[in-house]
Symmetry: C2
Subunit: 331 residues, 2 copies
Protein backbone atom coordinates (compact mmCIF):
# COMPACT_ATOMS: atom_id res chain seq x y z
CA UNK A 1 0.00 0.00 0.00
CA UNK A 2 1.15 3.46 -0.84
CA UNK A 3 -0.25 5.56 2.03
CA UNK A 4 0.98 8.87 0.63
CA UNK A 5 4.65 7.82 0.87
CA UNK A 6 4.60 7.92 4.66
CA UNK A 7 7.78 6.20 5.83
CA UNK A 8 5.98 4.53 8.75
CA UNK A 9 2.40 4.44 9.96
CA UNK A 10 1.22 3.30 13.40
CA UNK A 11 -2.45 2.29 13.63
CA UNK A 12 -4.33 1.73 16.87
CA UNK A 13 -8.03 2.54 16.31
CA UNK A 14 -9.94 -0.76 16.36
CA UNK A 15 -11.74 -0.31 13.03
CA UNK A 16 -8.56 0.58 11.16
CA UNK A 17 -6.74 -2.31 12.83
CA UNK A 18 -9.60 -4.59 11.74
CA UNK A 19 -9.43 -3.25 8.17
CA UNK A 20 -5.71 -4.00 7.93
CA UNK A 21 -5.37 -7.13 10.05
CA UNK A 22 -8.77 -8.88 9.92
CA UNK A 23 -9.40 -8.50 13.68
CA UNK A 24 -10.22 -5.42 15.71
CA UNK A 25 -7.53 -5.91 18.29
CA UNK A 26 -3.93 -4.80 18.53
CA UNK A 27 -1.50 -2.24 17.13
CA UNK A 28 -0.32 -2.24 13.52
CA UNK A 29 2.96 -0.73 12.35
CA UNK A 30 3.40 -0.38 8.58
CA UNK A 31 6.92 0.37 7.39
CA UNK A 32 8.65 0.40 4.03
CA UNK A 33 10.23 -3.00 4.68
CA UNK A 34 7.93 -4.94 6.97
CA UNK A 35 4.53 -4.76 8.69
CA UNK A 36 3.93 -5.66 12.33
CA UNK A 37 0.97 -6.57 14.51
CA UNK A 38 1.06 -6.68 18.29
CA UNK A 39 -1.89 -8.08 20.16
CA UNK A 40 -2.69 -9.31 23.65
CA UNK A 41 -1.46 -12.79 24.45
CA UNK A 42 -5.05 -14.05 24.76
CA UNK A 43 -5.83 -12.93 21.22
CA UNK A 44 -2.64 -14.53 19.90
CA UNK A 45 -4.28 -17.78 20.96
CA UNK A 46 -7.88 -16.92 20.06
CA UNK A 47 -6.92 -15.75 16.54
CA UNK A 48 -4.13 -18.28 16.08
CA UNK A 49 -5.50 -19.75 12.85
CA UNK A 50 -5.74 -16.42 11.04
CA UNK A 51 -2.41 -15.12 12.30
CA UNK A 52 -0.56 -18.27 11.27
CA UNK A 53 -1.87 -18.34 7.70
CA UNK A 54 1.01 -18.52 5.26
CA UNK A 55 -0.04 -15.39 3.40
CA UNK A 56 -0.81 -13.35 6.54
CA UNK A 57 1.00 -10.08 5.90
CA UNK A 58 2.09 -9.23 9.44
CA UNK A 59 4.87 -10.23 11.74
CA UNK A 60 2.66 -11.02 14.77
CA UNK A 61 3.85 -10.78 18.36
CA UNK A 62 2.28 -10.69 21.82
CA UNK A 63 2.10 -7.15 23.12
CA UNK A 64 4.46 -6.31 25.91
CA UNK A 65 5.13 -2.96 27.55
CA UNK A 66 7.15 -0.69 25.25
CA UNK A 67 7.15 -3.31 22.47
CA UNK A 68 6.02 -0.81 19.83
CA UNK A 69 8.38 1.91 21.03
CA UNK A 70 11.33 -0.45 21.09
CA UNK A 71 10.63 -1.68 17.58
CA UNK A 72 10.36 1.90 16.30
CA UNK A 73 13.76 2.70 17.83
CA UNK A 74 15.26 -0.53 16.51
CA UNK A 75 14.03 0.20 12.97
CA UNK A 76 15.55 3.70 13.23
CA UNK A 77 12.24 5.24 12.19
CA UNK A 78 12.68 9.01 11.94
CA UNK A 79 9.23 10.02 10.75
CA UNK A 80 6.07 8.37 11.97
CA UNK A 81 2.43 9.03 11.15
CA UNK A 82 -0.30 8.19 13.64
CA UNK A 83 -4.06 8.57 13.56
CA UNK A 84 -5.89 11.65 14.79
CA UNK A 85 -5.77 10.45 18.41
CA UNK A 86 -6.71 12.45 21.53
CA UNK A 87 -4.29 15.31 22.10
CA UNK A 88 -2.81 13.86 25.31
CA UNK A 89 -2.11 10.57 23.54
CA UNK A 90 -0.42 12.48 20.72
CA UNK A 91 1.68 14.42 23.23
CA UNK A 92 2.72 11.27 25.04
CA UNK A 93 3.72 9.62 21.75
CA UNK A 94 5.68 12.72 20.73
CA UNK A 95 7.65 12.64 23.98
CA UNK A 96 8.12 8.87 24.15
CA UNK A 97 9.00 8.10 20.56
CA UNK A 98 11.31 11.00 19.72
CA UNK A 99 10.46 10.89 16.01
CA UNK A 100 8.97 13.46 13.68
CA UNK A 101 5.31 12.79 14.41
CA UNK A 102 2.52 13.59 11.94
CA UNK A 103 -1.19 12.82 11.81
CA UNK A 104 -2.53 10.78 8.90
CA UNK A 105 -6.03 9.77 7.87
CA UNK A 106 -4.61 7.53 5.14
CA UNK A 107 -6.33 4.34 6.30
CA UNK A 108 -9.70 6.04 6.89
CA UNK A 109 -9.40 7.56 3.41
CA UNK A 110 -8.51 4.26 1.80
CA UNK A 111 -11.46 2.58 3.54
CA UNK A 112 -13.86 4.91 1.69
CA UNK A 113 -13.23 3.02 -1.55
CA UNK A 114 -14.50 -0.52 -1.17
CA UNK A 115 -12.99 -3.69 -2.63
CA UNK A 116 -15.29 -6.11 -4.45
CA UNK A 117 -15.14 -8.36 -1.37
CA UNK A 118 -16.32 -5.54 0.87
CA UNK A 119 -19.08 -4.66 -1.61
CA UNK A 120 -20.46 -8.20 -1.35
CA UNK A 121 -20.59 -7.90 2.45
CA UNK A 122 -22.27 -4.49 2.18
CA UNK A 123 -24.87 -5.97 -0.21
CA UNK A 124 -25.68 -8.66 2.35
CA UNK A 125 -25.82 -6.07 5.10
CA UNK A 126 -28.15 -3.89 3.01
CA UNK A 127 -30.33 -6.92 2.45
CA UNK A 128 -30.76 -7.29 6.23
CA UNK A 129 -31.83 -3.63 6.35
CA UNK A 130 -34.37 -4.17 3.56
CA UNK A 131 -35.92 -7.17 5.31
CA UNK A 132 -36.07 -5.25 8.57
CA UNK A 133 -37.78 -2.37 6.79
CA UNK A 134 -40.36 -4.77 5.38
CA UNK A 135 -40.99 -5.84 8.99
CA UNK A 136 -41.38 -2.18 9.96
CA UNK A 137 -44.13 -1.80 7.35
CA UNK A 138 -45.85 -4.81 8.98
CA UNK A 139 -45.67 -3.75 12.61
CA UNK A 140 -45.87 0.05 12.56
CA UNK A 141 -49.48 1.18 12.77
CA UNK A 142 -51.98 3.35 14.59
CA UNK A 143 -52.29 2.49 18.30
CA UNK A 144 -48.97 0.61 18.48
CA UNK A 145 -46.43 1.92 21.01
CA UNK A 146 -43.23 3.16 19.35
CA UNK A 147 -41.04 1.04 21.64
CA UNK A 148 -43.02 -2.14 20.91
CA UNK A 149 -42.72 -1.66 17.15
CA UNK A 150 -39.01 -0.98 17.60
CA UNK A 151 -38.50 -4.12 19.71
CA UNK A 152 -40.11 -6.24 16.96
CA UNK A 153 -37.95 -4.69 14.24
CA UNK A 154 -34.69 -5.02 16.18
CA UNK A 155 -35.62 -8.64 16.87
CA UNK A 156 -36.08 -9.19 13.12
CA UNK A 157 -32.68 -7.57 12.44
CA UNK A 158 -31.02 -10.12 14.75
CA UNK A 159 -33.04 -13.02 13.30
CA UNK A 160 -31.82 -11.98 9.86
CA UNK A 161 -28.31 -12.63 11.17
CA UNK A 162 -27.06 -9.14 11.99
CA UNK A 163 -23.89 -9.34 14.08
CA UNK A 164 -24.68 -6.03 15.81
CA UNK A 165 -27.63 -3.90 16.79
CA UNK A 166 -28.25 -0.94 14.47
CA UNK A 167 -26.05 2.06 15.33
CA UNK A 168 -24.57 2.55 18.78
CA UNK A 169 -27.84 3.03 20.69
CA UNK A 170 -30.10 0.92 18.50
CA UNK A 171 -32.41 1.95 15.68
CA UNK A 172 -34.47 5.13 15.56
CA UNK A 173 -38.25 5.09 15.47
CA UNK A 174 -40.26 8.18 16.29
CA UNK A 175 -43.73 9.37 15.41
CA UNK A 176 -45.62 12.64 15.07
CA UNK A 177 -44.07 15.77 16.63
CA UNK A 178 -41.28 13.69 18.24
CA UNK A 179 -39.89 12.90 14.79
CA UNK A 180 -38.99 16.56 14.31
CA UNK A 181 -36.01 15.70 16.53
CA UNK A 182 -33.49 14.12 14.11
CA UNK A 183 -32.19 11.71 16.74
CA UNK A 184 -35.43 11.16 18.69
CA UNK A 185 -35.59 7.86 20.56
CA UNK A 186 -38.60 5.57 20.61
CA UNK A 187 -40.78 6.02 23.68
CA UNK A 188 -43.94 4.52 25.15
CA UNK A 189 -46.13 6.88 23.10
CA UNK A 190 -48.71 5.31 20.83
CA UNK A 191 -48.45 5.97 17.12
CA UNK A 192 -51.39 8.14 16.05
CA UNK A 193 -53.48 7.82 12.95
CA UNK A 194 -52.61 10.60 10.52
CA UNK A 195 -49.04 10.93 11.79
CA UNK A 196 -45.72 10.19 10.15
CA UNK A 197 -43.22 7.70 11.59
CA UNK A 198 -39.50 7.94 10.84
CA UNK A 199 -37.85 4.49 10.83
CA UNK A 200 -34.03 4.63 10.60
CA UNK A 201 -32.36 1.23 10.82
CA UNK A 202 -29.56 -1.00 9.64
CA UNK A 203 -27.80 -4.27 10.22
CA UNK A 204 -24.22 -5.49 10.24
CA UNK A 205 -22.95 -8.43 8.25
CA UNK A 206 -19.44 -9.71 8.98
CA UNK A 207 -18.56 -6.31 10.46
CA UNK A 208 -20.05 -4.25 7.59
CA UNK A 209 -22.93 -1.92 8.43
CA UNK A 210 -26.02 -0.89 6.50
CA UNK A 211 -28.20 2.17 6.95
CA UNK A 212 -31.67 2.93 5.60
CA UNK A 213 -34.56 5.25 6.48
CA UNK A 214 -38.19 5.38 5.46
CA UNK A 215 -40.97 7.62 6.72
CA UNK A 216 -44.37 5.98 6.91
CA UNK A 217 -47.67 7.85 6.73
CA UNK A 218 -50.17 6.23 9.12
CA UNK A 219 -53.62 5.79 7.58
CA UNK A 220 -55.04 9.05 6.24
CA UNK A 221 -52.34 11.71 6.63
CA UNK A 222 -53.00 15.44 6.24
CA UNK A 223 -51.96 17.65 3.33
CA UNK A 224 -48.66 18.79 4.93
CA UNK A 225 -47.65 15.21 5.70
CA UNK A 226 -48.54 13.98 2.22
CA UNK A 227 -46.74 16.85 0.53
CA UNK A 228 -43.52 16.40 2.52
CA UNK A 229 -43.53 12.60 2.21
CA UNK A 230 -43.74 12.92 -1.56
CA UNK A 231 -41.28 15.77 -1.80
CA UNK A 232 -38.53 14.21 0.34
CA UNK A 233 -38.86 10.74 -1.20
CA UNK A 234 -38.67 12.28 -4.65
CA UNK A 235 -35.69 14.42 -3.64
CA UNK A 236 -33.92 11.26 -2.44
CA UNK A 237 -34.44 9.75 -5.91
CA UNK A 238 -33.37 12.93 -7.71
CA UNK A 239 -30.22 13.27 -5.59
CA UNK A 240 -29.27 9.66 -6.33
CA UNK A 241 -29.78 10.30 -10.05
CA UNK A 242 -27.16 13.03 -10.21
CA UNK A 243 -24.45 11.01 -8.40
CA UNK A 244 -21.40 10.46 -10.61
CA UNK A 245 -17.72 9.70 -10.34
CA UNK A 246 -15.51 12.72 -9.61
CA UNK A 247 -18.49 14.72 -8.35
CA UNK A 248 -17.67 16.90 -5.35
CA UNK A 249 -19.54 15.70 -2.27
CA UNK A 250 -20.21 19.34 -1.36
CA UNK A 251 -21.95 19.85 -4.73
CA UNK A 252 -24.28 16.92 -4.08
CA UNK A 253 -25.10 18.41 -0.68
CA UNK A 254 -25.64 21.85 -2.23
CA UNK A 255 -28.18 20.36 -4.64
CA UNK A 256 -30.18 18.70 -1.83
CA UNK A 257 -29.99 21.74 0.43
CA UNK A 258 -30.97 24.05 -2.46
CA UNK A 259 -34.08 22.03 -3.22
CA UNK A 260 -35.15 21.98 0.44
CA UNK A 261 -34.59 25.73 0.73
CA UNK A 262 -36.59 26.33 -2.49
CA UNK A 263 -39.39 24.35 -0.85
CA UNK A 264 -39.31 26.81 2.03
CA UNK A 265 -37.48 24.77 4.69
CA UNK A 266 -34.00 24.50 6.17
CA UNK A 267 -31.81 21.43 5.83
CA UNK A 268 -30.56 20.59 9.30
CA UNK A 269 -28.03 17.84 8.64
CA UNK A 270 -25.64 16.44 6.08
CA UNK A 271 -26.81 14.73 2.88
CA UNK A 272 -24.96 11.51 3.64
CA UNK A 273 -21.91 9.58 4.80
CA UNK A 274 -19.83 6.59 3.84
CA UNK A 275 -20.82 3.21 5.31
CA UNK A 276 -18.50 0.26 5.93
CA UNK A 277 -16.77 -1.00 9.05
CA UNK A 278 -18.27 2.09 10.68
CA UNK A 279 -21.74 3.46 10.28
CA UNK A 280 -20.28 6.91 9.59
CA UNK A 281 -17.05 7.05 7.61
CA UNK A 282 -15.63 8.79 4.56
CA UNK A 283 -16.88 10.23 2.26
CA UNK A 284 -18.65 12.99 4.14
CA UNK A 285 -21.44 14.51 2.03
CA UNK A 286 -21.86 17.89 3.69
CA UNK A 287 -21.51 21.55 2.80
CA UNK A 288 -17.94 21.88 4.01
CA UNK A 289 -16.69 18.50 2.81
CA UNK A 290 -13.67 18.44 0.52
CA UNK A 291 -14.34 14.81 -0.47
CA UNK A 292 -14.77 13.74 -4.09
CA UNK A 293 -17.00 10.79 -5.01
CA UNK A 294 -15.00 7.89 -6.43
CA UNK A 295 -15.67 4.56 -8.09
CA UNK A 296 -16.25 1.91 -5.39
CA UNK A 297 -17.48 4.27 -2.70
CA UNK A 298 -20.59 3.26 -0.72
CA UNK A 299 -22.52 6.05 0.98
CA UNK A 300 -25.97 7.15 2.10
CA UNK A 301 -28.19 9.84 0.61
CA UNK A 302 -30.69 11.06 3.18
CA UNK A 303 -32.62 14.28 2.66
CA UNK A 304 -34.91 15.28 5.52
CA UNK A 305 -37.30 18.03 6.53
CA UNK A 306 -38.12 18.72 10.19
CA UNK A 307 -40.93 20.96 11.41
CA UNK A 308 -40.65 21.47 15.20
CA UNK A 309 -43.90 20.73 16.99
CA UNK A 310 -45.27 18.94 13.95
CA UNK A 311 -43.30 16.24 12.17
CA UNK A 312 -40.11 14.95 10.61
CA UNK A 313 -39.68 13.26 7.23
CA UNK A 314 -36.50 11.53 6.09
CA UNK A 315 -35.73 9.02 3.34
CA UNK A 316 -32.33 7.36 3.14
CA UNK A 317 -30.75 4.87 0.77
CA UNK A 318 -27.31 3.33 0.59
CA UNK A 319 -25.67 3.86 -2.78
CA UNK A 320 -22.69 2.18 -4.49
CA UNK A 321 -20.85 4.19 -7.10
CA UNK A 322 -20.08 1.66 -9.84
CA UNK A 323 -18.92 2.21 -13.41
CA UNK A 324 -19.57 5.90 -12.91
CA UNK A 325 -23.19 5.33 -11.93
CA UNK A 326 -25.16 5.03 -8.69
CA UNK A 327 -26.52 1.63 -7.73
CA UNK A 328 -28.95 1.66 -4.83
CA UNK A 329 -28.19 -1.19 -2.40
CA UNK A 330 -31.28 -0.69 -0.24
CA UNK A 331 -34.03 -1.21 -2.84
CA UNK B 1 -18.96 24.03 40.20
CA UNK B 2 -15.32 24.25 41.06
CA UNK B 3 -13.61 22.44 38.20
CA UNK B 4 -10.10 22.77 39.59
CA UNK B 5 -10.20 26.59 39.41
CA UNK B 6 -10.09 26.57 35.62
CA UNK B 7 -10.96 30.10 34.49
CA UNK B 8 -12.99 28.82 31.54
CA UNK B 9 -13.97 25.38 30.25
CA UNK B 10 -15.33 24.57 26.80
CA UNK B 11 -17.23 21.28 26.52
CA UNK B 12 -18.21 19.62 23.25
CA UNK B 13 -18.35 15.85 23.77
CA UNK B 14 -22.02 14.82 23.65
CA UNK B 15 -22.09 12.93 26.97
CA UNK B 16 -20.45 15.77 28.89
CA UNK B 17 -22.77 18.26 27.21
CA UNK B 18 -25.70 16.06 28.25
CA UNK B 19 -24.41 15.86 31.82
CA UNK B 20 -24.20 19.63 32.11
CA UNK B 21 -27.13 20.77 29.97
CA UNK B 22 -29.66 17.90 30.06
CA UNK B 23 -29.42 17.26 26.28
CA UNK B 24 -26.63 15.69 24.26
CA UNK B 25 -26.39 18.44 21.71
CA UNK B 26 -24.43 21.66 21.52
CA UNK B 27 -21.36 23.35 22.98
CA UNK B 28 -21.08 24.47 26.60
CA UNK B 29 -18.81 27.25 27.84
CA UNK B 30 -18.40 27.55 31.61
CA UNK B 31 -16.79 30.75 32.85
CA UNK B 32 -16.37 32.39 36.23
CA UNK B 33 -19.27 34.77 35.56
CA UNK B 34 -21.69 33.06 33.23
CA UNK B 35 -22.35 29.74 31.46
CA UNK B 36 -23.33 29.43 27.82
CA UNK B 37 -24.94 26.81 25.60
CA UNK B 38 -24.99 26.95 21.84
CA UNK B 39 -27.06 24.46 19.92
CA UNK B 40 -28.38 24.03 16.40
CA UNK B 41 -31.43 26.10 15.57
CA UNK B 42 -33.57 22.95 15.21
CA UNK B 43 -32.73 21.88 18.77
CA UNK B 44 -33.47 25.35 20.11
CA UNK B 45 -37.01 24.58 18.98
CA UNK B 46 -37.11 20.87 19.87
CA UNK B 47 -35.77 21.47 23.40
CA UNK B 48 -37.54 24.80 23.86
CA UNK B 49 -39.32 23.83 27.08
CA UNK B 50 -36.19 22.75 28.91
CA UNK B 51 -34.08 25.64 27.70
CA UNK B 52 -36.68 28.21 28.73
CA UNK B 53 -37.10 26.93 32.29
CA UNK B 54 -36.57 29.76 34.75
CA UNK B 55 -33.84 27.92 36.63
CA UNK B 56 -32.04 26.72 33.49
CA UNK B 57 -28.42 27.64 34.18
CA UNK B 58 -27.29 28.50 30.65
CA UNK B 59 -27.53 31.47 28.37
CA UNK B 60 -28.81 29.56 25.31
CA UNK B 61 -28.24 30.68 21.74
CA UNK B 62 -28.50 29.16 18.29
CA UNK B 63 -25.12 28.10 17.01
CA UNK B 64 -23.69 30.23 14.25
CA UNK B 65 -20.27 30.04 12.64
CA UNK B 66 -17.57 31.41 14.99
CA UNK B 67 -20.14 32.04 17.76
CA UNK B 68 -18.02 30.29 20.39
CA UNK B 69 -14.79 31.89 19.24
CA UNK B 70 -16.34 35.35 19.19
CA UNK B 71 -17.74 34.95 22.69
CA UNK B 72 -14.35 33.79 24.00
CA UNK B 73 -12.71 36.88 22.50
CA UNK B 74 -15.48 39.13 23.81
CA UNK B 75 -15.11 37.73 27.36
CA UNK B 76 -11.35 38.32 27.13
CA UNK B 77 -10.70 34.72 28.16
CA UNK B 78 -6.95 34.21 28.42
CA UNK B 79 -6.83 30.62 29.60
CA UNK B 80 -9.21 27.98 28.33
CA UNK B 81 -9.50 24.28 29.13
CA UNK B 82 -10.98 21.86 26.59
CA UNK B 83 -11.56 18.12 26.63
CA UNK B 84 -9.02 15.59 25.41
CA UNK B 85 -10.11 16.04 21.79
CA UNK B 86 -8.39 14.65 18.68
CA UNK B 87 -5.01 16.28 18.16
CA UNK B 88 -5.99 18.10 14.94
CA UNK B 89 -9.03 19.60 16.69
CA UNK B 90 -6.78 20.74 19.55
CA UNK B 91 -4.34 22.30 17.08
CA UNK B 92 -7.11 24.12 15.26
CA UNK B 93 -8.48 25.46 18.55
CA UNK B 94 -5.01 26.56 19.59
CA UNK B 95 -4.54 28.53 16.38
CA UNK B 96 -8.08 29.93 16.19
CA UNK B 97 -8.64 30.96 19.78
CA UNK B 98 -5.28 32.48 20.69
CA UNK B 99 -5.65 31.63 24.38
CA UNK B 100 -3.53 29.53 26.70
CA UNK B 101 -5.09 26.14 25.93
CA UNK B 102 -5.05 23.22 28.36
CA UNK B 103 -6.74 19.82 28.46
CA UNK B 104 -9.10 19.03 31.32
CA UNK B 105 -10.95 15.86 32.29
CA UNK B 106 -12.81 17.78 35.02
CA UNK B 107 -16.31 16.93 33.81
CA UNK B 108 -15.48 13.26 33.18
CA UNK B 109 -14.00 13.12 36.69
CA UNK B 110 -17.00 14.80 38.27
CA UNK B 111 -19.33 12.37 36.47
CA UNK B 112 -17.68 9.45 38.32
CA UNK B 113 -19.41 10.51 41.55
CA UNK B 114 -23.15 10.18 41.13
CA UNK B 115 -25.86 12.42 42.56
CA UNK B 116 -28.81 10.79 44.33
CA UNK B 117 -30.92 11.53 41.24
CA UNK B 118 -28.44 9.69 39.02
CA UNK B 119 -28.32 6.79 41.47
CA UNK B 120 -32.09 6.35 41.16
CA UNK B 121 -31.79 6.18 37.37
CA UNK B 122 -28.92 3.69 37.67
CA UNK B 123 -31.03 1.52 39.99
CA UNK B 124 -33.80 1.44 37.40
CA UNK B 125 -31.31 0.69 34.69
CA UNK B 126 -29.81 -2.14 36.77
CA UNK B 127 -33.30 -3.50 37.28
CA UNK B 128 -33.73 -3.77 33.48
CA UNK B 129 -30.46 -5.72 33.38
CA UNK B 130 -31.64 -8.07 36.14
CA UNK B 131 -34.92 -8.82 34.35
CA UNK B 132 -33.06 -9.41 31.10
CA UNK B 133 -30.72 -11.80 32.89
CA UNK B 134 -33.71 -13.71 34.24
CA UNK B 135 -34.87 -14.02 30.62
CA UNK B 136 -31.41 -15.31 29.70
CA UNK B 137 -31.76 -18.09 32.28
CA UNK B 138 -35.08 -18.98 30.60
CA UNK B 139 -33.97 -19.04 26.98
CA UNK B 140 -30.34 -20.20 27.06
CA UNK B 141 -30.16 -23.97 26.84
CA UNK B 142 -28.67 -26.94 25.01
CA UNK B 143 -29.54 -27.00 21.30
CA UNK B 144 -30.53 -23.30 21.12
CA UNK B 145 -28.59 -21.14 18.63
CA UNK B 146 -26.60 -18.37 20.33
CA UNK B 147 -28.08 -15.70 18.05
CA UNK B 148 -31.67 -16.84 18.73
CA UNK B 149 -31.15 -16.68 22.50
CA UNK B 150 -29.55 -13.26 22.10
CA UNK B 151 -32.45 -11.95 19.97
CA UNK B 152 -34.94 -13.01 22.68
CA UNK B 153 -32.92 -11.33 25.43
CA UNK B 154 -32.38 -8.07 23.52
CA UNK B 155 -36.13 -8.05 22.79
CA UNK B 156 -36.81 -8.38 26.53
CA UNK B 157 -34.40 -5.51 27.26
CA UNK B 158 -36.43 -3.26 24.94
CA UNK B 159 -39.75 -4.48 26.34
CA UNK B 160 -38.47 -3.58 29.81
CA UNK B 161 -38.21 -0.02 28.51
CA UNK B 162 -34.52 0.32 27.75
CA UNK B 163 -33.88 3.45 25.70
CA UNK B 164 -30.86 1.86 23.99
CA UNK B 165 -29.52 -1.51 23.00
CA UNK B 166 -26.86 -2.87 25.35
CA UNK B 167 -23.38 -1.49 24.54
CA UNK B 168 -22.49 -0.16 21.12
CA UNK B 169 -22.83 -3.42 19.16
CA UNK B 170 -25.47 -5.11 21.30
CA UNK B 171 -25.09 -7.62 24.10
CA UNK B 172 -22.53 -10.42 24.23
CA UNK B 173 -23.52 -14.06 24.30
CA UNK B 174 -21.02 -16.79 23.47
CA UNK B 175 -20.76 -20.45 24.32
CA UNK B 176 -18.09 -23.09 24.68
CA UNK B 177 -14.65 -22.40 23.17
CA UNK B 178 -15.92 -19.16 21.57
CA UNK B 179 -16.38 -17.63 25.02
CA UNK B 180 -12.63 -17.68 25.55
CA UNK B 181 -12.68 -14.56 23.36
CA UNK B 182 -13.60 -11.75 25.78
CA UNK B 183 -15.59 -9.88 23.13
CA UNK B 184 -16.90 -12.84 21.15
CA UNK B 185 -20.13 -12.14 19.26
CA UNK B 186 -23.09 -14.49 19.16
CA UNK B 187 -23.16 -16.70 16.07
CA UNK B 188 -25.39 -19.34 14.54
CA UNK B 189 -23.70 -22.09 16.57
CA UNK B 190 -25.89 -24.22 18.79
CA UNK B 191 -25.23 -24.16 22.53
CA UNK B 192 -23.88 -27.58 23.60
CA UNK B 193 -24.75 -29.54 26.68
CA UNK B 194 -21.86 -29.39 29.14
CA UNK B 195 -20.63 -26.01 27.89
CA UNK B 196 -20.53 -22.62 29.57
CA UNK B 197 -22.30 -19.57 28.14
CA UNK B 198 -21.14 -16.03 28.92
CA UNK B 199 -24.05 -13.55 28.92
CA UNK B 200 -22.96 -9.90 29.19
CA UNK B 201 -25.83 -7.42 28.95
CA UNK B 202 -27.30 -4.17 30.15
CA UNK B 203 -30.02 -1.63 29.55
CA UNK B 204 -30.30 2.13 29.56
CA UNK B 205 -32.84 4.09 31.56
CA UNK B 206 -33.18 7.82 30.85
CA UNK B 207 -29.66 7.83 29.41
CA UNK B 208 -28.07 5.83 32.28
CA UNK B 209 -26.54 2.46 31.43
CA UNK B 210 -26.34 -0.79 33.33
CA UNK B 211 -23.92 -3.67 32.88
CA UNK B 212 -24.06 -7.23 34.20
CA UNK B 213 -22.53 -10.60 33.30
CA UNK B 214 -23.35 -14.16 34.28
CA UNK B 215 -21.87 -17.40 33.03
CA UNK B 216 -24.29 -20.29 32.78
CA UNK B 217 -23.31 -23.94 32.94
CA UNK B 218 -25.49 -25.94 30.52
CA UNK B 219 -26.80 -29.18 32.02
CA UNK B 220 -24.02 -31.40 33.37
CA UNK B 221 -20.77 -29.46 33.03
CA UNK B 222 -17.32 -31.03 33.45
CA UNK B 223 -14.95 -30.60 36.38
CA UNK B 224 -13.00 -27.68 34.84
CA UNK B 225 -16.21 -25.78 34.04
CA UNK B 226 -17.66 -26.37 37.50
CA UNK B 227 -14.46 -25.38 39.23
CA UNK B 228 -14.05 -22.13 37.27
CA UNK B 229 -17.74 -21.20 37.56
CA UNK B 230 -17.52 -21.50 41.33
CA UNK B 231 -14.15 -19.83 41.61
CA UNK B 232 -14.95 -16.76 39.50
CA UNK B 233 -18.40 -16.22 41.00
CA UNK B 234 -16.90 -16.45 44.47
CA UNK B 235 -14.06 -14.09 43.51
CA UNK B 236 -16.66 -11.57 42.31
CA UNK B 237 -18.30 -11.72 45.76
CA UNK B 238 -14.97 -11.50 47.59
CA UNK B 239 -13.82 -8.53 45.50
CA UNK B 240 -17.09 -6.70 46.21
CA UNK B 241 -16.64 -7.38 49.93
CA UNK B 242 -13.34 -5.52 50.15
CA UNK B 243 -14.59 -2.39 48.35
CA UNK B 244 -14.38 0.67 50.58
CA UNK B 245 -14.17 4.43 50.37
CA UNK B 246 -10.68 5.82 49.67
CA UNK B 247 -9.49 2.44 48.39
CA UNK B 248 -7.14 2.70 45.44
CA UNK B 249 -8.73 1.21 42.33
CA UNK B 250 -5.37 -0.34 41.44
CA UNK B 251 -5.35 -2.19 44.78
CA UNK B 252 -8.77 -3.69 44.08
CA UNK B 253 -7.49 -4.84 40.70
CA UNK B 254 -4.32 -6.23 42.26
CA UNK B 255 -6.43 -8.34 44.64
CA UNK B 256 -8.50 -9.84 41.79
CA UNK B 257 -5.50 -10.40 39.56
CA UNK B 258 -3.54 -11.94 42.46
CA UNK B 259 -6.30 -14.46 43.17
CA UNK B 260 -6.56 -15.45 39.50
CA UNK B 261 -2.78 -15.86 39.24
CA UNK B 262 -2.74 -17.98 42.43
CA UNK B 263 -5.36 -20.17 40.76
CA UNK B 264 -2.92 -20.67 37.88
CA UNK B 265 -4.40 -18.36 35.23
CA UNK B 266 -3.76 -14.92 33.80
CA UNK B 267 -6.19 -12.03 34.14
CA UNK B 268 -6.66 -10.58 30.66
CA UNK B 269 -8.69 -7.45 31.33
CA UNK B 270 -9.49 -4.80 33.91
CA UNK B 271 -11.46 -5.53 37.08
CA UNK B 272 -14.10 -2.91 36.33
CA UNK B 273 -15.17 0.53 35.16
CA UNK B 274 -17.56 3.29 36.12
CA UNK B 275 -21.06 3.19 34.61
CA UNK B 276 -23.32 6.16 33.99
CA UNK B 277 -24.08 8.19 30.88
CA UNK B 278 -21.44 5.98 29.27
CA UNK B 279 -21.00 2.27 29.65
CA UNK B 280 -17.29 2.82 30.37
CA UNK B 281 -16.37 5.89 32.37
CA UNK B 282 -14.36 6.81 35.46
CA UNK B 283 -13.31 5.21 37.77
CA UNK B 284 -11.07 2.82 35.90
CA UNK B 285 -10.32 -0.27 37.98
CA UNK B 286 -7.13 -1.53 36.36
CA UNK B 287 -3.53 -2.13 37.29
CA UNK B 288 -2.29 1.26 36.10
CA UNK B 289 -5.26 3.32 37.29
CA UNK B 290 -4.57 6.24 39.61
CA UNK B 291 -8.27 6.50 40.57
CA UNK B 292 -9.45 6.31 44.16
CA UNK B 293 -12.89 4.89 45.04
CA UNK B 294 -15.20 7.54 46.44
CA UNK B 295 -18.62 7.71 48.07
CA UNK B 296 -21.30 7.83 45.35
CA UNK B 297 -19.29 6.07 42.67
CA UNK B 298 -21.02 3.34 40.65
CA UNK B 299 -18.79 0.79 38.94
CA UNK B 300 -18.58 -2.81 37.80
CA UNK B 301 -16.56 -5.64 39.29
CA UNK B 302 -15.98 -8.35 36.71
CA UNK B 303 -13.35 -11.03 37.23
CA UNK B 304 -12.94 -13.50 34.37
CA UNK B 305 -10.87 -16.50 33.35
CA UNK B 306 -10.38 -17.44 29.69
CA UNK B 307 -8.88 -20.70 28.48
CA UNK B 308 -8.27 -20.54 24.70
CA UNK B 309 -9.78 -23.47 22.84
CA UNK B 310 -11.90 -24.38 25.87
CA UNK B 311 -14.04 -21.80 27.65
CA UNK B 312 -14.50 -18.41 29.21
CA UNK B 313 -16.07 -17.59 32.59
CA UNK B 314 -16.95 -14.07 33.73
CA UNK B 315 -19.22 -12.73 36.48
CA UNK B 316 -19.97 -9.02 36.69
CA UNK B 317 -22.01 -6.87 39.05
CA UNK B 318 -22.64 -3.15 39.26
CA UNK B 319 -21.76 -1.73 42.65
CA UNK B 320 -22.64 1.54 44.37
CA UNK B 321 -20.25 2.81 47.03
CA UNK B 322 -22.56 4.16 49.75
CA UNK B 323 -21.76 5.11 53.34
CA UNK B 324 -18.35 3.55 52.88
CA UNK B 325 -19.81 0.20 51.83
CA UNK B 326 -20.55 -1.59 48.56
CA UNK B 327 -24.18 -2.03 47.56
CA UNK B 328 -24.74 -4.38 44.64
CA UNK B 329 -27.27 -2.91 42.19
CA UNK B 330 -27.54 -6.00 40.00
CA UNK B 331 -28.76 -8.56 42.55
Amino acid sequence: MEYERIPALLISSPKNVEYLSGRDTGRVLLTEEEDFLWTRELYMEVNKELYSEKSYPFDVAAYQKEAVKNRIIELKIKELAIENLPHLVYEKARKDLRVKLTVSEAVDRQRAVKTSYEIELLRKSASIAKKAMAKAFDVVGAGVREIDALAEIEYEIRMQGSDATPFSDGMLLSSGPASANIHARASGRKIASGSTVVVDLGGRYESYYSDMTRTLGIEKVGALERDLLEFVDDLRARAIDIVSTEMKAADLHAFVEGEIVKKGYKFFHGTGHGVGLEIHEFPSITGDSTDVLKEGMVFTIEPGIYVPGKLGVRFEDMVLLKKGKPEVLTV
